[in-house]
């Protein structure tokens, strides 16, 4: 199935519900829905892109059928559709939900060349960070210690840990923009 939603569906919804800027809705919510689906199903699940596509089509269909009445925000409306589809998918894949395999929470950067390149450049940027920021990222994200444990190990406050993590992120953002 193609990732792009058929222009026919968009056209049909636009005709009936001209109040919605469908291109904007798709552009805004596809990344959010994709993130949620990958986080829930695991990026190793080959069907995740199909699931995202189904959700987006479902959103458009419901808008077309005027099922969105504005009782909640469009974000909450799409969130509900996404959650239901994820649950259905898991039920289909494993008959008993509680035995569903634990999804891999970390998305593999090697699915797409573009992702791989970004992961490589992020890694290089982290390597260039000052030792105190690098060490924070190492303990907190790589060694999976709690903020309290990191604070204790480095002899600083937990607030300071959060500040350093945020500042490291800020430095990386700057480095990645260059």
């Amino acid at each position: 199935m193609s990732i792009n939603i058929s222009a026919d569906i968009i056209g049909a919804v636009k005709e009936k519900s001209p109040q919605f800027d469908l291109e904007e809705i798709i552009a805004k919510y596809r990344p959010i829905v994709s993130f949620r689906v990958k986080k829930s199903l695991g990026s190793h699940t080959p069907d995740w892109e199909d699931v995202v596509n189904e959700i987006m089509v479902n959103v458009l269909e419901k808008l077309h059928k005027r099922e969105f009445r504005g009782d909640s925000s469009i974000g909450t409306f799409i969130f509900t559709i996404t959650s239901r589809r994820i649950i259905d998918f898991i039920r289909q894949k494993s008959k008993v939900l509680k035995y569903a395999p634990e999804p891999n929470p970390y998305l593999s950067p090697y699915e797409h060349i573009e992702n791989k390149e970004r992961a490589e450049s992020t890694a290089k940027a982290i390597e260039k960070l000052k030792p105190k920021y690098k060490k924070i990222l190492y303990l907190y994200y790589y060694k999976d210690l709690s903020r309290e444990e990191v604070a204790q190990k480095l002899g600083i406050s937990t607030r300071r840990v959060s500040e350093r993590v945020n500042y490291a992120q800020k430095l990386l953002r700057k480095m990645m923009k260059k």
Binding site: I32, G75, P109, R118, A119, T122, Y141, Y142
Partner: protein, 214 residues
């Protein structure tokens, strides 16, 4: 980028540390909050790189940690160079030889023994006479000499202290008036204590009993 109150949940969500309730709350939130979603996506990118490339990114820190975990013995070994270790071993060997030669000579002969349940540390005095039953009241008490400049204190007991005297000799003659107070058929005991010239107790004898038979 402005701050949102839900931002603090980003790390917990990405690291799977939120409760199910908080997780769902945050998921519903980021569908409506562009700020949180963008920050989360950015952090996730960093986290993904760390999780997949961490072993190379943090190679130096991993080595550092391994050194921290290295056994104490390894750290001690790393403290000196092999040349310094050789010197240290040789020095220790010399010290051991010297110690083994000198220490036995320094050891003082200070036996320990019990008197009236009290542990006494020091030399003992061997009593010579009387130490067994006698048929007459003894005139003289004798013990082994501990050398010069020693003051001895003798104590003679019946049921209680009968007489006490001091002398620098290793014998003493019983005064007549004490002798007259002693009777046959009774049991007596005696003990000698030795003092240095400075008055320090240096030796004590056992308390020896001698019956005076009829």
């Amino acid at each position: 980028m402005r701050k949102c109150k839900h931002e603090d949940l980003i790390d917990g969500y990405l690291l799977n540390k939120l409760s199910e309730e908080k997780k769902q709350e945050f998921e519903a939130h980021y569908f409506n909050c562009r700020v949180c979603f963008e920050k989360m996506a950015e952090r996730d990118e960093m986290l993904t790189a760390i999780k997949y490339k961490g072993h190379t990114i943090f190679q130096d820190l991993e080595t550092e940690t391994e050194v921290e975990r290295a056994p104490v013995l390894g750290q001690i070994w790393a403290f000196f160079t092999p040349k310094q270790w050789a010197l240290a071993v040789a020095t220790t060997a010399v010290l051991v030889v010297v110690a083994l030669g000198v220490i036995p000579n320094l050891t003082t002969t200070s036996p320990q023994f019990f008197i009236n349940d009290d542990l006494v540390r020091g030399s003992s005095i061997r009593l010579i006479s009387p130490v067994i039953a006698v048929d007459t009241i003894p005139s003289q008490f004798r013990w082994e000499s501990l050398g010069e400049d020693v003051e001895y204190k003798i104590e003679l007991y019946n049921h209680e202290l009968l007489w006490s005297a001091t002398t620098s000799n290793h014998y003493i003659t019983l005064p007549q008036e004490v002798k007259e107070r002693m009777v046959t058929g009774e049991k007596y005991s005696w003990q000698v204590k030795a003092f240095s010239a400075e008055g320090t107790l240096i030796a004590v004898s056992s308390k020896v009993q001698f019956p005076v038979t009829k």
